[in-house]
Every structure is written in C-alpha cells, then in structure tokens.
C-alpha cells in the first residue's frame, strides 16, 4: 500500500463544495403592507389617481397612476415608517397627506442564503391633520403583516 497515494486521495476528498448559500427566488421576502382605497360615503372600492408615495427617509418614490389597491414596503430598521401620500401628483390640485405607521417588528429566520425576513404587527396609523386632508378615515383590517395575500389597511377618501 502506497501511503503517499493515500495521502493525496485524502486531500482531494476533503475539498468538497457545498452550495448552501443561495437564496432561491421562491422564498417569500419581507411582506409589504397592502392598502385598499374605498369611497368614504358608499364604502365601495374607489381608485386613486396619480398617487405618489415618498418619505423623508428615502430617496425613492413610488408612483401609481390609477388603482384601488397598492402595496408599500415598511422600514425594517425602525418601528415607524413615515410616508407622504400625494394624489393627483401631476396636477395643480395635488394634495399631500402625511402618514405615520407604527408597528412592532418580528424578524423571522429563513436560511443562510436569504438571512431573515421581517414581519410586522401594526399598532396604529396616524394621519397628520392639515387644512385639507384627502384621507378621511382609515381602518386596520389585519394587524399582522406576514403575507401579501389580503389587505391590511383600508383608506377611505
């Protein structure tokens, strides 16, 4: 028996690779908050037009041209996300409302490749009063933001 040959064989076997660090796209990432818009009077779904969403803490903006349903990401680094919701944003009759969303955060371990995702428990929503709020009222339908299958919040306008 040749010990040298055995030695080389051992070294080769010991370099095995393990592709464990890949995050498959099929994993659900951090869920967004789903908002649906309703008419303040007849409680029927009602579209918002040219809705622009921004935040003081982000350089990004979201834009929805005409819809009664949107999903927005919450800030996973703090317990409050502040948004500026502007409707008719491209027109002269644009109207901005400030919205504060307060929640508790629950990180959930997924895998080495994906890391953690964040789930949120909604505490409350604050619509900052101004002279002309376009948002008349809201309702929390589902406090637990752990999936994107159903609405979490209704906004009446």
């Amino acid at each position: 028996m040749n010990l040298n040959r055995l030695f080389i064989l051992f070294i080769l076997i010991s370099f095995a690779c393990e592709p464990d660090d890949i995050c498959l796209d099929s994993y659900q990432d951090t869920p967004k908050m789903i908002i649906r818009f309703y008419d303040q009077d007849n409680k029927q779904p009602k579209n918002v037009k040219n809705l622009q969403i921004s935040s003081d803490n982000s350089e990004e903006t979201l834009f929805f041209s005409e819809t009664d349903s949107i999903s927005i990401p919450l800030d996973h680094t703090t317990d409050t996300s502040k948004f500026i919701f502007t409707i008719n944003s491209s027109n002269s009759d644009s109207n901005s409302d400030n919205i504060f969303i307060n929640y508790n955060r629950n990180p959930i371990y997924i895998s080495v490749g994906c890391g953690f995702i964040m789930n949120f428990d909604l505490n409350d929503l604050i619509i900052e009063s101004d002279q002309n709020n376009w948002i008349k009222s809201f309702k929390i339908n589902n406090q637990n933001i752990n999936s994107e299958t159903a609405k979490h919040i209704e906004i009446h306008h």
Binding site: E60, D75, F116
Partner: protein
C-alpha cells in the same frame, strides 16, 4: 501475513501502550480562517488491531456570510475505536484504520448581526444589529473515520484522518440556526452530514511491551 513461526521476541516488537497527540489541522486553520481551537488525542491499544480512542477539544469559529454574522464556541468529546486494517511487517507499527466515534459537544451560539431579505429597495438596506446569545446548546453525532498513522521516528507517529459525521441531535436556537458546531464543523441546512479532517502528531508512551 508475516510468519511468526520462528517467534523471536527481539525481532517481533508489537507495541502496546497509551498514545497521546495533538491535531495540528486546527493550528493550520487558525492561519487561514477566523477560527481558533485545540484538539487532543489519546488512544490505547487493547488488541492486536483494536484501539480505544478518545478525543477532546474546543473550537471557536466566526461565521461571516452575506446575510448573517455569527460566532460559535464550545467544547467536545469524541470516544470510540479504531480498527487497523494494515498488515505490518514485523517490528513496524503503521496503521491504516477505520473507526467510529460517538461525539458530544456543548456550545454557545452568538448571533451578531443580520440583514433583512427584501427585494424592494425603497428603504435603505441596513443590517440589523441585534445581539443574541444562545447558551448551553448540546449536540451529538456519530463519526465514521478512515485514516492512517505512520511511525516516523521511534514512538512518534504522524497521522491523517477523514471523517464523515452523521448528526444525531442538535439544540437549534429559536428563530435561528447553528451554522457550525464545535467538533462537528460546518452544519448545512436540510442535511445531517458533515465532514472533518485531522492531521495529528502522536507520541507513544511505552508502558507495556509484549
């Protein structure tokens, strides 16, 4: 098979005794990884081909992946046997062996920081610094060993072994995982197997000679 018909005790020196050693692969790993550890080895020959083996050690390893930083540290003990398959010429004491170990470890898992998986890029993608410590975690596993020891000088052996580890039990921290277990090495998800390699220097304390 060597013939021992003219059995002359001067030529046929089968050594029995206790051997003690150190696994130098740990020291080599310390040069290239964020790792520190020490592993001691001991065996006793109880039959012509059979050795009772005990290994004792500790590991401290920092795991840094794209998403998770974690540190694992703890001690382990492995006990079992080696069976020598090698037919030595008279007077030589080499081994090519197969072996089995039952291994247990007690360790600590620290989660240092992690990132949140979010395809959306609206918010800045900061890592979450949330230190968590999981103490008194236990695990046990079986190791299948193949290796060899070769006597390079009188009473001094050098050896290499490869291990295939089969996890039996591990305490998994709540809402987290063990990316490494002292003694077991890297833990992969959805897989109960791990691997190990040792590179040992072993000294024989000659107590009994037959």
């Amino acid at each position: 098979m060597s013939s021992q018909s003219e059995s002359d005790t001067i030529y046929v020196k089968n050594k029995y005794g206790i051997r003690a050693g150190i696994d130098l692969s740990k020291q080599i790993r310390m040069l290239t990884e964020e790792y520190s550890g020490l592993s001691l080895y001991g065996d006793i020959k109880i039959k012509e081909r059979l050795f009772i083996v005990a290994e004792l050690g500790n590991d401290q390893k920092t795991i840094e992946t794209e998403n998770i930083n974690s540190k694992l540290s703890g001690s382990y003990i492995k006990t079992g046997f080696n069976y020598n398959l090698y037919n030595n010429l008279p007077g030589l004491n080499n081994e090519i062996y197969v072996g089995l170990r039952y291994s247990q470890s007690l360790f600590k898992n620290e989660l240092i920081d992690y990132s949140i998986y979010n395809k959306d890029r609206f918010w800045n993608d900061q890592r979450i610094l949330e230190y968590k410590e999981f103490d008194n975690l236990k695990s046990s596993w079986i190791e299948f060993v193949v290796g060899f020891n070769s006597e390079i000088k009188n009473n001094l052996f050098m050896g290499l072994s490869l291990r295939l580890n089969r996890m039996l039990k591990q305490d998994i921290p709540e809402n987290f995982t063990n990316l490494f277990i002292p003694g077991f090495n890297k833990v992969t998800e959805n897989n109960n197997f791990g691997t190990g390699i040792t590179y040992s220097v072993i000294y024989q304390i000659p107590i009994i000679k037959k």
